[in-house]
């Protein structure tokens, strides 16, 4: 047995950690590249969204490298992506690829996959007692690595707008993240996290700057994966903006486990409540939260909001229409970026540059 998982954001780091620690063989899909997208787009319905195509591409590449078990999160309707695990399954079967599929259910606990599924019954036969005994430790390792990655990414978002040498933070972040990836024990992880934190903090910074504050909202895979959003977070940071986002793997995992920490719950509840002035009910996925977060960020004194969505994403298309109103009502500039297969990096750069300049003018005028 060889498990694999999508290559999204830092997900491969902590998924790999779980498998590695539990001594389950695994295949990390190659880093998302143009080839990944080409493969994914070739085998999927043309009108389906970009995250779907990229995830499918990851799976195809991993299966070609010898993986035989795919682990994927299912999140359920109304977002189409919630049902994508089912569609992807059919596509991969049609392609004649042989594999086993494990869906992590959105509203159940991790243990559920070990108890409730036909597939897991079979899996149990293949897993040794050692694997099963080590699994809880693997989960702990994975969780810790995920939190370490997120801590480093959050720190990088603060350092980037103040860096003296453009691009320096990103280089250091990459180095720090690969350190996390390589750590084998919890103690090594602690040390490597400390080293990574120091590495980022030691970036030469200009503390006299007062960076713009920009929140990134929108569809969660698009917000979390730099391959899907063409590095919007890094680009904004290097243009001199301190970026915030509330979509993290931990946010969404805790949410599905219904084990949100009080502050995270209250933050998402706050966003949801704020959206009620515009939406009478829950549209699904992140739609209400995108709208609510824009309002809350305006109240918190942010300079602007960047709204990310894949082309044809239903919940976020709804959000984008409402966000134009929110922008006017709350006097906060909102830039919606629609992402699809085309190489529109240049275009994104143009839009972000103009947006940041506009925010700077607005700040000066105030």
């Amino acid at each position: 047995m060889k498990v694999t998982f999508p290559h999204l954001g830092t997900m491969h780091i902590f998924c790999k950690a779980i498998a590695e620690t539990a001594q389950i063989p695994y295949v990390v899909p190659p880093e998302t590249s143009r080839k990944t997208l080409t493969l994914g787009a070739l085998h999927s319905n043309e009108s389906i969204c970009l995250p779907f195509k990229i995830i499918l591409g990851n799976f195809i590449e991993a299966l070609q490298l010898g993986a035989d078990t795919i682990v994927m999160v299912g999140s359920g309707p109304p977002c189409r992506l919630g049902l994508y695990d089912l569609v992807q399954k059919v596509i991969l079967e049609d392609m004649g690829l042989r594999y086993r599929w494990l869906t992590i259910p959105p509203r159940l606990t991790w243990q559920a996959i070990w108890k409730n599924y036909e597939e897991t019954k079979e899996l149990k036969k293949e897993l040794s007692w050692k694997n099963i005994l080590l699994f809880p430790y693997g989960l702990r390792m994975g969780w810790k690595k995920m939190m370490a990655c997120e801590a480093l990414e959050k720190l990088a978002m603060k350092v980037r707008p103040r860096e003296v040498q453009k691009g320096e933070t990103q280089k250091r972040l990459k180095k720090a993240l690969s350190g996390v990836d390589e750590a084998r024990t919890l103690r090594m992880l602690d040390e490597t996290l400390q080293r990574g934190t120091a590495l980022l903090q030691e970036t030469e910074q200009d503390f006299s700057r007062a960076p713009l504050k920009i929140a990134i909202v929108g569809e969660l895979y698009t917000v979390m994966d730099p391959h899907i959003n063409r590095g919007v977070e890094q680009k904004l940071g290097e243009l001199g903006a301190e970026v915030t986002r509330t979509s993290w793997f931990s946010t969404h995992i805790l949410r599905s486990l219904r084990k949100n920490k009080a502050d995270q719950t209250s933050e998402r509840i706050r966003f949801f409540e704020a959206s009620k002035a515009y939406l009478g009910y829950d549209v699904g996925a992140e739609c209400n939260l995108s709208i609510g977060e824009a309002i809350v960020r305006s109240q918190d004194g942010y300079d602007g909001v960047v709204h990310l969505m894949p082309f044809a994403c239903m919940p976020e298309t709804t959000a984008s229409g409402i966000l134009t109103r929110v922008g006017k009502d709350w006097d906060i500039p909102i830039l919606t970026l629609i992402l699809d297969e085309q190489e529109i990096e240049g275009r994104i750069q143009t839009l972000l540059e103009a947006f940041v300049e506009m925010l700077q003018w607005k700040r000066k005028a105030a």
């Binding site: 190659p30 590249s33 082309f311 134009t324 970026l337 750069q349 839009l351 947006f355 300049e357 506009m358």
Partner: protein
């Protein structure tokens, strides 16, 4: 007298202007790229230098447009600016009272909302180029008429036909259908203008407050049919600046004039006599599969980009460390 050069290299055309301290346009060039931006820029430089005379020396250069980085590497720019800002700056100085800018170019269409001389909102088409100049170009070519004639014909339409404008591929299907059942070319071309304008107003300008005075610029502003359709739809007159096609370049030149570089990076007009080319390849050293591009002037690599790891830039000695 100090002179400033603004270069705007878009998807279809390259625009260059030289302005003086008083913002007067001393020389201008408007050329089609024909898919070869480097040659076009060189050609533009040659024309400019012949208009300005041998002795003219440039004190600052700024580039804008979708090929602004390529242009900057080639000519040696002091400032690289996105086209949204460049267009706004050009308008704000010229028409301080303007509240909206429509800019429709070859592949881009933008709307910029101004209030009290400051940009407060903007939008640009992202995933779809429907309704921009290149489609009009293509249709003119299909009908065997020049793009100038296209605008004139559209204005003569008596009963513009309905053309689906959401997607240009379907718009073309619609136009061919109308032609095969006997509608006149004028009415079809007029209908196309109406539908492109609707598409622009509904997609790019959606949710934007379009107050007049509205300035309409970009290459498509030359098209009388589109201008008429916009004015009809919005029930207001549009201001078309004298240099409507050069506004991006003018904005860029004005921006570099403000910066007043101590010593310009400009490589001089003699660049037009050198051999310039690019060389692109896909690096297969890692899974990033970067598409690397090298810029060569007189067979020497003067710039390189696309390599995420900076390996090629380092080996060419373009960056150290």
């Amino acid at each position: 007298m100090a002179l400033y050069l603004g270069i705007d290299v878009g998807s279809i055309t390259a625009k260059m202007v030289v302005i003086d301290e008083g913002d007067g346009v001393l020389a201008e060039v408007y050329l089609r790229n024909n898919g070869r931006p480097l040659e076009t820029i060189q050609q533009g430089l040659e024309i400019l230098s012949s208009r300005l005379g041998e002795k003219a020396s440039i004190d600052g250069v700024a580039t804008t447009g979708s090929a602004r980085h390529l242009a900057a590497y080639l000519v040696g720019a002091d400032l690289i600016k996105n086209e949204i800002t460049a267009h706004s700056i050009a308008v704000i100085d010229l028409f301080p009272e303007a509240k909206t800018i429509f800019e429709i170019g070859g592949q881009d269409s933008k709307v910029i909302v101004l209030r009290a001389g400051v940009v407060v909102d903007f939008a640009m088409n992202t995933v779809c180029a429907a309704g921009t100049g290149s489609f009009l170009d293509q249709q003119a070519a299909r009908l065997g008429i020049s793009i100038e004639e296209f605008g004139r014909l559209a204005m003569q339409a008596k009963h513009p036909v309905r053309v689906a404008g959401r997607c240009t591929v379907f718009a073309e299907t619609d136009m061919i259908h109308k032609q095969q059942i006997g509608h006149s070319v004028e009415d079809i071309v007029g209908g196309l203008c109406d539908s492109l304008v609707n598409n622009y107003l509904n997609n790019v300008c959606r949710g934007k407050e379009l107050l007049s005075p509205i300035v309409f610029q970009g290459g498509v502003a030359a098209n009388g049919g589109i201008r008429k359709a916009l004015e009809k739809e919005l029930e207001t007159d549009l201001i078309i600046p004298k240099h409507f096609g050069l506004m991006g370049a003018i904005g860029a030149a004005k921006l570099v004039k403000r910066v007043k570089p101590v010593r310009t990076q400009f490589k001089g007009f003699e660049l037009s006599r050198k051999s310039c080319s690019t060389r692109g390849f896909e690096c297969s050293e890692c899974e990033n599969q970067c598409e690397v591009v090298e810029l060569l002037v007189d067979r020497e690599v003067v710039a390189c980009w696309g390599d995420l790891c900076e390996k090629y830039r380092k080996s060419s000695g373009l960056i150290t460390g």
